[in-house]
Assembly symmetry: C2
Homo-oligomer: 196 residues x 2
Amino acid sequence: MPRAGLTPRVVAEEAARLCDEEGFDALTLASLAKRVGVAAPSLYKHVDGLTALRRDVALLGMAELAEALRGATVGRSGAPALRAAADAYRGYARAHPGRYAALQQAPRPDDEEAQRVAAGPVSVLAAVLRGFGIGDDQAVHAIRALRSGLHGFVHLEANGGFRLPEDLDESYGLLVEGFVRAFEGWADVAARTGDG
Amino acid sequence: MPRAGLTPRVVAEEAARLCDEEGFDALTLASLAKRVGVAAPSLYKHVDGLTALRRDVALLGMAELAEALRGATVGRSGAPALRAAADAYRGYARAHPGRYAALQQAPRPDDEEAQRVAAGPVSVLAAVLRGFGIGDDQAVHAIRALRSGLHGFVHLEANGGFRLPEDLDESYGLLVEGFVRAFEGWADVAARTGDG
DNA sequence: GCTTTTTGGCTATCAGCATTAGCTAGAGCC
DNA sequence: GGCTCTAGCTAATGCTGATAGCCAAAAAGC
Protein backbone atom coordinates (compact mmCIF):
# COMPACT_ATOMS: atom_id res chain seq x y z
CA MET A 1 0.00 0.00 0.00
CA PRO A 2 1.90 3.02 -1.22
CA ARG A 3 1.07 6.25 0.53
CA ALA A 4 -1.13 8.78 -1.17
CA GLY A 5 0.53 11.82 0.33
CA LEU A 6 -2.62 13.30 1.78
CA THR A 7 -2.76 16.12 4.27
CA PRO A 8 -5.76 17.93 5.76
CA ARG A 9 -5.13 20.76 3.33
CA VAL A 10 -4.92 18.54 0.26
CA VAL A 11 -8.08 16.72 1.32
CA ALA A 12 -10.01 19.96 1.80
CA GLU A 13 -8.88 21.34 -1.54
CA GLU A 14 -9.77 18.16 -3.36
CA ALA A 15 -13.15 18.17 -1.61
CA ALA A 16 -13.69 21.74 -2.81
CA ARG A 17 -12.85 20.73 -6.36
CA LEU A 18 -15.25 17.83 -6.13
CA CYS A 19 -17.99 20.17 -4.90
CA ASP A 20 -17.43 22.54 -7.79
CA GLU A 21 -17.48 19.77 -10.35
CA GLU A 22 -20.25 17.55 -9.04
CA GLY A 23 -22.22 19.76 -6.69
CA PHE A 24 -22.06 20.26 -2.97
CA ASP A 25 -24.48 17.38 -2.34
CA ALA A 26 -22.14 15.05 -4.20
CA LEU A 27 -19.51 15.57 -1.54
CA THR A 28 -19.44 12.28 0.35
CA LEU A 29 -16.56 10.63 2.09
CA ALA A 30 -16.96 7.71 -0.27
CA SER A 31 -16.76 9.83 -3.43
CA LEU A 32 -13.88 11.89 -2.10
CA ALA A 33 -11.98 8.76 -1.08
CA LYS A 34 -12.41 7.32 -4.54
CA ARG A 35 -11.24 10.60 -6.05
CA VAL A 36 -8.03 10.73 -4.06
CA GLY A 37 -7.42 6.98 -4.43
CA VAL A 38 -7.88 5.86 -0.88
CA ALA A 39 -10.35 3.81 1.15
CA ALA A 40 -13.06 5.85 2.84
CA PRO A 41 -11.97 5.25 6.45
CA SER A 42 -8.48 6.49 5.61
CA LEU A 43 -9.84 10.00 5.27
CA TYR A 44 -10.40 10.08 9.01
CA LYS A 45 -6.65 10.37 9.46
CA HIS A 46 -6.91 13.85 7.97
CA VAL A 47 -10.45 15.06 8.55
CA ASP A 48 -12.83 14.68 11.45
CA GLY A 49 -15.80 13.33 9.53
CA LEU A 50 -18.15 14.64 6.86
CA THR A 51 -19.45 17.58 8.87
CA ALA A 52 -15.93 18.83 9.50
CA LEU A 53 -15.05 18.34 5.85
CA ARG A 54 -17.98 20.49 4.79
CA ARG A 55 -16.87 23.14 7.24
CA ASP A 56 -13.36 23.02 5.82
CA VAL A 57 -14.70 23.58 2.30
CA ALA A 58 -16.77 26.48 3.58
CA LEU A 59 -13.79 28.09 5.29
CA LEU A 60 -11.70 27.68 2.16
CA GLY A 61 -14.44 29.30 0.11
CA MET A 62 -14.90 32.15 2.57
CA ALA A 63 -11.21 32.95 2.50
CA GLU A 64 -11.07 32.80 -1.29
CA LEU A 65 -14.17 34.93 -1.67
CA ALA A 66 -12.77 37.56 0.66
CA GLU A 67 -9.54 37.56 -1.31
CA ALA A 68 -11.41 37.93 -4.59
CA LEU A 69 -13.39 40.87 -3.22
CA ARG A 70 -10.26 42.49 -1.86
CA GLY A 71 -8.44 42.10 -5.14
CA ALA A 72 -11.34 43.58 -7.06
CA THR A 73 -11.76 46.64 -4.87
CA VAL A 74 -8.18 47.58 -4.15
CA GLY A 75 -7.44 51.00 -5.51
CA ARG A 76 -11.09 51.86 -6.07
CA SER A 77 -13.75 53.53 -4.01
CA GLY A 78 -17.37 54.53 -4.17
CA ALA A 79 -19.51 53.29 -7.05
CA PRO A 80 -16.63 51.76 -9.06
CA ALA A 81 -15.54 49.79 -6.01
CA LEU A 82 -19.09 48.55 -5.45
CA ARG A 83 -19.46 47.49 -9.06
CA ALA A 84 -16.14 45.69 -9.00
CA ALA A 85 -16.99 43.93 -5.76
CA ALA A 86 -20.36 42.87 -7.10
CA ASP A 87 -18.77 41.44 -10.24
CA ALA A 88 -16.14 39.62 -8.24
CA TYR A 89 -18.78 38.22 -5.91
CA ARG A 90 -20.86 36.77 -8.71
CA GLY A 91 -17.76 35.71 -10.60
CA TYR A 92 -16.51 33.70 -7.67
CA ALA A 93 -19.85 31.99 -7.17
CA ARG A 94 -20.02 31.03 -10.83
CA ALA A 95 -16.45 29.81 -10.96
CA HIS A 96 -16.84 27.82 -7.73
CA PRO A 97 -20.48 26.85 -7.34
CA GLY A 98 -19.76 24.00 -4.96
CA ARG A 99 -17.68 26.12 -2.63
CA TYR A 100 -20.27 28.87 -2.77
CA ALA A 101 -22.96 26.36 -1.84
CA ALA A 102 -20.83 25.27 1.08
CA LEU A 103 -20.94 28.82 2.44
CA GLN A 104 -24.67 28.52 3.09
CA GLN A 105 -24.20 26.31 6.12
CA ALA A 106 -24.14 28.52 9.16
CA PRO A 107 -21.07 27.82 11.29
CA ARG A 108 -21.70 26.65 14.82
CA PRO A 109 -21.89 29.57 17.24
CA ASP A 110 -18.93 28.24 19.22
CA ASP A 111 -16.73 27.90 16.13
CA GLU A 112 -14.60 30.99 16.55
CA GLU A 113 -12.35 30.37 13.59
CA ALA A 114 -15.35 30.07 11.30
CA GLN A 115 -16.86 33.25 12.68
CA ARG A 116 -13.61 35.05 12.04
CA VAL A 117 -13.21 33.78 8.48
CA ALA A 118 -16.86 34.44 7.71
CA ALA A 119 -16.31 38.07 8.63
CA GLY A 120 -13.80 38.45 5.78
CA PRO A 121 -16.12 39.05 2.84
CA VAL A 122 -18.42 41.15 4.98
CA SER A 123 -15.58 43.39 6.04
CA VAL A 124 -14.65 44.09 2.42
CA LEU A 125 -18.21 45.10 1.62
CA ALA A 126 -18.21 47.25 4.75
CA ALA A 127 -15.08 49.01 3.54
CA VAL A 128 -16.67 49.63 0.15
CA LEU A 129 -19.78 51.11 1.72
CA ARG A 130 -17.71 53.38 3.91
CA GLY A 131 -16.95 55.29 0.74
CA PHE A 132 -20.62 56.25 0.41
CA GLY A 133 -20.73 58.28 3.58
CA ILE A 134 -23.44 56.25 5.22
CA GLY A 135 -23.84 56.98 8.92
CA ASP A 136 -22.56 54.48 11.47
CA ASP A 137 -26.06 53.78 12.73
CA GLN A 138 -27.05 52.79 9.20
CA ALA A 139 -23.99 50.92 8.04
CA VAL A 140 -25.05 47.51 9.33
CA HIS A 141 -28.42 47.79 7.61
CA ALA A 142 -26.86 48.92 4.36
CA ILE A 143 -24.40 46.04 4.39
CA ARG A 144 -27.16 43.57 5.10
CA ALA A 145 -29.16 44.94 2.21
CA LEU A 146 -26.22 44.68 -0.16
CA ARG A 147 -25.36 41.17 0.95
CA SER A 148 -29.00 40.19 0.48
CA GLY A 149 -29.09 41.48 -3.05
CA LEU A 150 -25.82 39.96 -4.18
CA HIS A 151 -26.34 36.64 -2.46
CA GLY A 152 -29.97 36.42 -3.50
CA PHE A 153 -29.19 36.94 -7.17
CA VAL A 154 -26.25 34.57 -7.19
CA HIS A 155 -28.15 31.93 -5.24
CA LEU A 156 -31.23 32.10 -7.43
CA GLU A 157 -29.05 32.00 -10.53
CA ALA A 158 -27.13 28.97 -9.27
CA ASN A 159 -30.34 27.14 -8.40
CA GLY A 160 -32.09 27.71 -11.69
CA GLY A 161 -34.41 30.34 -10.29
CA PHE A 162 -34.21 32.54 -13.39
CA ARG A 163 -35.75 30.75 -16.32
CA LEU A 164 -36.56 33.49 -18.79
CA PRO A 165 -34.19 34.13 -21.69
CA GLU A 166 -33.43 37.75 -20.78
CA ASP A 167 -29.76 38.47 -20.25
CA LEU A 168 -28.66 37.72 -16.70
CA ASP A 169 -25.67 40.03 -16.88
CA GLU A 170 -27.99 42.90 -17.61
CA SER A 171 -30.29 41.95 -14.75
CA TYR A 172 -27.37 41.82 -12.37
CA GLY A 173 -26.02 45.12 -13.63
CA LEU A 174 -29.35 46.78 -12.96
CA LEU A 175 -29.54 45.29 -9.49
CA VAL A 176 -26.09 46.66 -8.73
CA GLU A 177 -26.94 50.09 -10.14
CA GLY A 178 -30.00 50.10 -7.94
CA PHE A 179 -27.76 49.60 -4.93
CA VAL A 180 -25.35 52.29 -6.09
CA ARG A 181 -28.22 54.70 -6.34
CA ALA A 182 -29.67 53.61 -2.99
CA PHE A 183 -26.36 54.06 -1.22
CA GLU A 184 -25.71 57.45 -2.81
CA GLY A 185 -29.06 58.60 -1.52
CA TRP A 186 -29.20 56.51 1.61
CA ALA A 187 -30.44 59.32 3.81
CA ASP A 188 -33.48 59.50 1.58
CA VAL A 189 -34.05 55.75 1.83
CA ALA A 190 -33.69 55.78 5.59
CA ALA A 191 -36.09 58.69 5.92
CA ARG A 192 -38.80 56.71 4.17
CA THR A 193 -38.72 53.71 6.45
CA GLY A 194 -42.09 53.25 8.02
CA ASP A 195 -43.99 55.36 5.51
CA GLY A 196 -46.13 52.41 4.44
CA MET B 1 -52.71 -3.85 11.29
CA PRO B 2 -55.24 -1.06 11.32
CA ARG B 3 -54.94 1.40 8.49
CA ALA B 4 -53.41 4.76 9.11
CA GLY B 5 -55.61 6.64 6.67
CA LEU B 6 -52.78 8.11 4.67
CA THR B 7 -53.13 9.77 1.30
CA PRO B 8 -50.56 11.50 -0.87
CA ARG B 9 -51.89 14.84 0.36
CA VAL B 10 -51.73 13.92 4.04
CA VAL B 11 -48.23 12.56 3.60
CA ALA B 12 -47.02 15.73 1.86
CA GLU B 13 -48.55 17.98 4.50
CA GLU B 14 -47.06 15.99 7.33
CA ALA B 15 -43.71 16.08 5.56
CA ALA B 16 -44.00 19.86 5.30
CA ARG B 17 -44.75 20.10 9.01
CA LEU B 18 -41.77 17.91 9.78
CA CYS B 19 -39.56 20.16 7.65
CA ASP B 20 -40.74 23.25 9.45
CA GLU B 21 -40.19 21.73 12.87
CA GLU B 22 -36.95 19.83 12.36
CA GLY B 23 -35.42 21.38 9.29
CA PHE B 24 -35.52 20.39 5.65
CA ASP B 25 -32.53 18.09 6.03
CA ALA B 26 -34.37 16.18 8.73
CA LEU B 27 -36.94 15.08 6.19
CA THR B 28 -36.23 11.40 5.65
CA LEU B 29 -38.60 8.62 4.78
CA ALA B 30 -37.67 6.97 8.06
CA SER B 31 -38.46 10.00 10.19
CA LEU B 32 -41.66 10.73 8.31
CA ALA B 33 -42.77 7.12 8.62
CA LYS B 34 -42.22 7.20 12.36
CA ARG B 35 -44.13 10.47 12.58
CA VAL B 36 -47.20 9.14 10.82
CA GLY B 37 -47.00 5.79 12.59
CA VAL B 38 -46.18 3.54 9.70
CA ALA B 39 -43.25 1.46 8.46
CA ALA B 40 -40.98 3.25 6.02
CA PRO B 41 -41.74 1.12 2.95
CA SER B 42 -45.46 1.80 3.43
CA LEU B 43 -44.89 5.41 2.37
CA TYR B 44 -44.16 4.20 -1.13
CA LYS B 45 -47.87 3.49 -1.52
CA HIS B 46 -48.46 7.24 -1.43
CA VAL B 47 -45.25 8.89 -2.57
CA ASP B 48 -42.73 7.99 -5.23
CA GLY B 49 -39.60 8.12 -3.09
CA LEU B 50 -37.72 10.79 -1.20
CA THR B 51 -37.01 12.98 -4.21
CA ALA B 52 -40.68 13.12 -5.11
CA LEU B 53 -41.57 13.85 -1.49
CA ARG B 54 -39.25 16.82 -1.45
CA ARG B 55 -40.79 18.05 -4.66
CA ASP B 56 -44.25 17.72 -3.14
CA VAL B 57 -43.21 19.82 -0.16
CA ALA B 58 -41.77 22.42 -2.51
CA LEU B 59 -44.95 22.57 -4.57
CA LEU B 60 -47.03 22.93 -1.43
CA GLY B 61 -44.79 25.75 -0.26
CA MET B 62 -44.86 27.52 -3.61
CA ALA B 63 -48.64 27.46 -3.69
CA GLU B 64 -48.90 28.71 -0.12
CA LEU B 65 -46.34 31.44 -0.71
CA ALA B 66 -48.19 32.64 -3.80
CA GLU B 67 -51.40 32.67 -1.83
CA ALA B 68 -49.80 34.65 0.99
CA LEU B 69 -48.46 37.20 -1.47
CA ARG B 70 -51.80 37.49 -3.20
CA GLY B 71 -53.61 37.97 0.08
CA ALA B 72 -51.20 40.66 1.16
CA THR B 73 -51.37 42.68 -2.03
CA VAL B 74 -55.03 42.47 -2.88
CA GLY B 75 -56.57 45.92 -2.85
CA ARG B 76 -53.20 47.69 -2.84
CA SER B 77 -50.88 49.01 -5.50
CA GLY B 78 -47.57 50.75 -5.87
CA ALA B 79 -45.35 51.17 -2.84
CA PRO B 80 -47.89 49.92 -0.28
CA ALA B 81 -48.41 46.76 -2.32
CA LEU B 82 -44.67 46.22 -2.54
CA ARG B 83 -44.20 46.69 1.19
CA ALA B 84 -47.07 44.32 1.95
CA ALA B 85 -45.72 41.70 -0.44
CA ALA B 86 -42.25 41.97 1.07
CA ASP B 87 -43.62 41.52 4.58
CA ALA B 88 -45.72 38.57 3.52
CA TYR B 89 -42.74 36.99 1.78
CA ARG B 90 -40.51 37.19 4.83
CA GLY B 91 -43.38 36.27 7.12
CA TYR B 92 -44.05 33.09 5.21
CA ALA B 93 -40.40 32.09 5.23
CA ARG B 94 -40.17 32.63 8.97
CA ALA B 95 -43.40 30.79 9.70
CA HIS B 96 -42.46 27.87 7.45
CA PRO B 97 -38.68 27.64 7.29
CA GLY B 98 -38.66 24.02 6.18
CA ARG B 99 -41.05 24.62 3.32
CA TYR B 100 -39.12 27.71 2.30
CA ALA B 101 -35.92 25.68 2.28
CA ALA B 102 -37.66 23.15 0.07
CA LEU B 103 -38.24 25.85 -2.52
CA GLN B 104 -34.53 26.14 -3.18
CA GLN B 105 -34.39 22.92 -5.15
CA ALA B 106 -34.80 23.76 -8.79
CA PRO B 107 -37.56 21.69 -10.37
CA ARG B 108 -36.57 19.45 -13.21
CA PRO B 109 -36.89 21.20 -16.57
CA ASP B 110 -39.41 18.62 -17.76
CA ASP B 111 -41.61 18.99 -14.69
CA GLU B 112 -44.34 21.16 -16.14
CA GLU B 113 -46.52 21.23 -13.05
CA ALA B 114 -43.62 22.45 -10.95
CA GLN B 115 -42.79 25.14 -13.50
CA ARG B 116 -46.37 26.32 -13.42
CA VAL B 117 -46.62 26.39 -9.64
CA ALA B 118 -43.22 28.07 -9.33
CA ALA B 119 -44.51 30.88 -11.52
CA GLY B 120 -47.16 31.75 -8.92
CA PRO B 121 -45.15 33.88 -6.52
CA VAL B 122 -43.26 35.49 -9.38
CA SER B 123 -46.48 36.49 -11.09
CA VAL B 124 -47.69 38.28 -7.96
CA LEU B 125 -44.47 40.27 -7.75
CA ALA B 126 -44.79 41.03 -11.44
CA ALA B 127 -48.27 42.39 -10.86
CA VAL B 128 -47.00 44.57 -8.02
CA LEU B 129 -44.22 45.98 -10.16
CA ARG B 130 -46.64 46.77 -12.94
CA GLY B 131 -47.93 49.53 -10.69
CA PHE B 132 -44.58 51.29 -10.92
CA GLY B 133 -44.77 51.97 -14.61
CA ILE B 134 -41.62 50.11 -15.51
CA GLY B 135 -41.25 49.46 -19.22
CA ASP B 136 -41.84 45.97 -20.58
CA ASP B 137 -38.23 45.62 -21.64
CA GLN B 138 -37.18 46.28 -18.05
CA ALA B 139 -39.83 44.34 -16.14
CA VAL B 140 -37.99 41.03 -16.10
CA HIS B 141 -34.84 42.66 -14.76
CA ALA B 142 -36.73 44.56 -12.10
CA ILE B 143 -38.52 41.42 -10.94
CA ARG B 144 -35.26 39.52 -10.79
CA ALA B 145 -33.72 42.27 -8.70
CA LEU B 146 -36.64 42.28 -6.29
CA ARG B 147 -36.66 38.52 -5.96
CA SER B 148 -32.94 38.59 -5.32
CA GLY B 149 -33.27 41.10 -2.54
CA LEU B 150 -36.19 39.45 -0.79
CA HIS B 151 -34.87 35.93 -1.15
CA GLY B 152 -31.34 36.91 -0.26
CA PHE B 153 -32.37 38.57 2.98
CA VAL B 154 -34.71 35.80 4.00
CA HIS B 155 -32.21 33.11 3.11
CA LEU B 156 -29.34 34.74 4.95
CA GLU B 157 -31.57 35.34 7.95
CA ALA B 158 -32.75 31.73 8.00
CA ASN B 159 -29.18 30.45 7.76
CA GLY B 160 -27.74 32.58 10.50
CA GLY B 161 -25.98 34.92 8.13
CA PHE B 162 -26.79 38.02 10.18
CA ARG B 163 -25.02 37.84 13.49
CA LEU B 164 -24.92 41.42 14.72
CA PRO B 165 -27.49 42.57 17.25
CA GLU B 166 -28.97 45.34 15.10
CA ASP B 167 -32.68 44.98 14.49
CA LEU B 168 -33.46 42.74 11.53
CA ASP B 169 -36.88 44.24 10.97
CA GLU B 170 -35.26 47.60 10.45
CA SER B 171 -32.68 46.17 8.06
CA TYR B 172 -35.42 44.52 6.04
CA GLY B 173 -37.49 47.69 6.04
CA LEU B 174 -34.57 49.65 4.64
CA LEU B 175 -33.92 47.04 1.98
CA VAL B 176 -37.54 47.24 0.90
CA GLU B 177 -37.51 51.04 0.88
CA GLY B 178 -34.45 50.90 -1.27
CA PHE B 179 -36.39 48.84 -3.78
CA VAL B 180 -39.37 51.18 -3.62
CA ARG B 181 -37.10 54.06 -4.42
CA ALA B 182 -35.31 52.15 -7.16
CA PHE B 183 -38.58 51.17 -8.84
CA GLU B 184 -40.00 54.68 -8.61
CA GLY B 185 -36.92 55.97 -10.38
CA TRP B 186 -36.21 52.94 -12.51
CA ALA B 187 -35.52 54.93 -15.65
CA ASP B 188 -32.68 56.58 -13.78
CA VAL B 189 -31.31 53.22 -12.62
CA ALA B 190 -31.50 51.77 -16.10
CA ALA B 191 -29.78 54.79 -17.59
CA ARG B 192 -26.79 54.26 -15.36
CA THR B 193 -26.11 50.68 -16.34
CA GLY B 194 -22.65 50.41 -17.74
CA ASP B 195 -21.39 53.71 -16.33
CA GLY B 196 -18.73 51.94 -14.25
C1' DG C 1 -74.75 -10.55 3.33
C1' DC C 2 -71.40 -12.96 0.98
C1' DT C 3 -67.76 -12.98 -2.44
C1' DT C 4 -64.31 -10.75 -5.14
C1' DT C 5 -61.21 -7.22 -6.02
C1' DT C 6 -58.39 -3.63 -4.80
C1' DT C 7 -55.10 -1.66 -1.99
C1' DG C 8 -52.65 -0.03 2.17
C1' DG C 9 -50.19 -1.89 5.42
C1' DC C 10 -46.36 -5.34 6.72
C1' DT C 11 -41.56 -8.12 6.87
C1' DA C 12 -37.45 -9.37 4.57
C1' DT C 13 -33.76 -7.94 1.97
C1' DC C 14 -30.21 -5.25 -0.43
C1' DA C 15 -27.04 -1.56 -1.52
C1' DG C 16 -24.72 2.72 -0.22
C1' DC C 17 -23.36 5.72 3.29
C1' DA C 18 -20.69 7.44 7.75
C1' DT C 19 -18.27 5.87 11.36
C1' DT C 20 -15.42 3.01 14.71
C1' DA C 21 -12.01 -0.54 15.96
C1' DG C 22 -8.09 -2.73 15.28
C1' DC C 23 -4.31 -4.29 12.23
C1' DT C 24 -0.09 -3.43 9.16
C1' DA C 25 3.32 -1.54 6.51
C1' DG C 26 5.87 2.53 5.07
C1' DA C 27 8.75 6.60 6.39
C1' DG C 28 11.67 9.05 9.32
C1' DC C 29 14.84 9.10 13.49
C1' DC C 30 18.47 7.40 16.60
C1' DG D 1 19.57 -1.65 11.41
C1' DG D 2 16.14 -1.21 14.70
C1' DC D 3 12.15 1.98 16.87
C1' DT D 4 8.50 4.78 16.61
C1' DC D 5 4.98 7.02 14.52
C1' DT D 6 1.39 7.22 11.43
C1' DA D 7 -1.03 6.80 7.00
C1' DG D 8 -2.98 3.47 4.97
C1' DC D 9 -5.85 -0.97 5.18
C1' DT D 10 -9.97 -4.58 6.26
C1' DA D 11 -13.85 -5.77 9.06
C1' DA D 12 -17.92 -4.63 11.15
C1' DT D 13 -22.01 -1.68 12.84
C1' DG D 14 -26.00 0.99 12.15
C1' DC D 15 -28.35 4.13 9.53
C1' DT D 16 -30.58 5.40 5.12
C1' DG D 17 -33.52 4.72 0.60
C1' DA D 18 -35.45 1.38 -2.08
C1' DT D 19 -37.57 -3.13 -4.06
C1' DA D 20 -40.11 -7.54 -3.72
C1' DG D 21 -43.54 -10.09 -2.14
C1' DC D 22 -47.10 -11.29 1.47
C1' DC D 23 -51.51 -10.46 3.89
C1' DA D 24 -55.40 -8.32 5.81
C1' DA D 25 -58.60 -4.45 5.61
C1' DA D 26 -61.56 -1.89 2.94
C1' DA D 27 -64.36 -1.36 -1.07
C1' DA D 28 -67.04 -3.03 -4.96
C1' DG D 29 -70.25 -6.24 -7.12
C1' DC D 30 -74.02 -9.16 -6.86
